[in-house]
């Protein structure tokens, strides 16, 4: 098991749509250790963290970066756009409303890891019309 992380900025503002996802490869089940959400625009925003209702198809995914470069390359990847869009989680593990202040944010931690099944996706879901620029960081053990 190895720790990897990646930070992307999201641009999807639409309510009832994914802003960002972490998609596990079909052969491995990572554990999510941390999720950081940080507004880069002064828009009050509400997000939820939950498992995707489907298996999305990512556009231009970026793989997690190994925090120890001698570890094997990571297979889980993040995206902010999709050719098959994620569908709404049945339930959310975390929800947060952030004030209309650029720089506000939250860090969710999972000391024992939030398990993601092989081939499945975890979503940061827009529960409102959200910020057009949000920094999202995923940290996972894979």
């Amino acid at each position: 098991m190895a720790i990897g992380s990646l930070s992307l900025s999201t641009t999807v503002t639409t309510i009832g749509a994914a802003a960002n996802d972490l998609l596990a490869a079909s052969t491995i089940a990572p554990r999510i250790m941390e999720v950081h959400v940080n507004l880069g625009a002064a828009t009050a925003s509400t997000y939820g963290l939950g498992r995707s209702g489907n298996i999305p198809v990512q556009t231009a995914p970026v793989l997690l970066l190994a925090e120890n470069p001698t570890d094997p390359a990571f297979k889980s990847g993040c995206a902010v756009a999709w050719t098959t869009a994620p569908t709404v989680p049945a339930n959310f593990f975390r929800r947060v409303t952030l004030p209309a202040t650029s720089g506000s944010g939250i860090i969710w931690t999972f000391p024992r890891g939030l398990m993601l099944a092989a081939g499945a996706a975890m979503l940061l879901w827009n529960l409102a019309t959200n910020s057009a620029f949000t920094n999202v960081t995923w940290v996972a053990d894979e």
Partner: protein, 140 residues
């Protein structure tokens, strides 16, 4: 392995938007445990953390200080000025937009260590030309 720290204030480099780099020696790895960054004036920079692609040639490097007396001197260094313009990875390990206000900032922690191979750097980015206060703790 021993724990070392270094803390100081600096300004962002105008050309690179880099506040400082954390560099390992040619003969050893380092493992970052924690990075704390705050701004000294009312600005709202995008703070970031990326790996170097080419080597930072540091000018006037600052050596990390052992937290426990008796540990050997650190070989790892930080700098805010360089004699070259090193290139950085396109993907970010961390990104955070700061709240507008002096004293705002972030603490990034790495409980299992963020490894830096020999002669490479982690670059702390900040795209506002202001004073930054940095506190970095490593294991080496």
């Amino acid at each position: 392995m021993a724990i070392y720290a270094q803390a100081f204030s600096t300004s962002a480099n105008a050309d690179l938007g880099i506040v400082a780099d954390i560099k390992s020696a040619a003969t050893s790895n380092l493992s970052v445990r924690e990075i704390a960054v705050t701004v000294n004036t009312a600005v709202s920079p995008l703070l970031s953390l990326r790996r170097s692609i080419t080597e930072f040639l540091q000018i006037d490097p600052r050596q990390f200080q052992p937290e426990e007396r008796g540990d050997v001197p650190s070989l790892s260094t930080m700098a805010t000025v360089w004699s070259n313009s090193p290139s950085l990875a396109t993907a970010f390990l961390r990104r955070t937009t700061n709240v507008l206000g002096p004293g705002s900032g972030v603490i990034w922690s790495f409980p299992r260590g963020l490894w830096v191979p020999p002669s490479t750097s982690l670059a702390i980015g900040g795209n506002s030309l202001t004073g930054y206060s940095l506190s970095v703790e490593i294991e080496e």
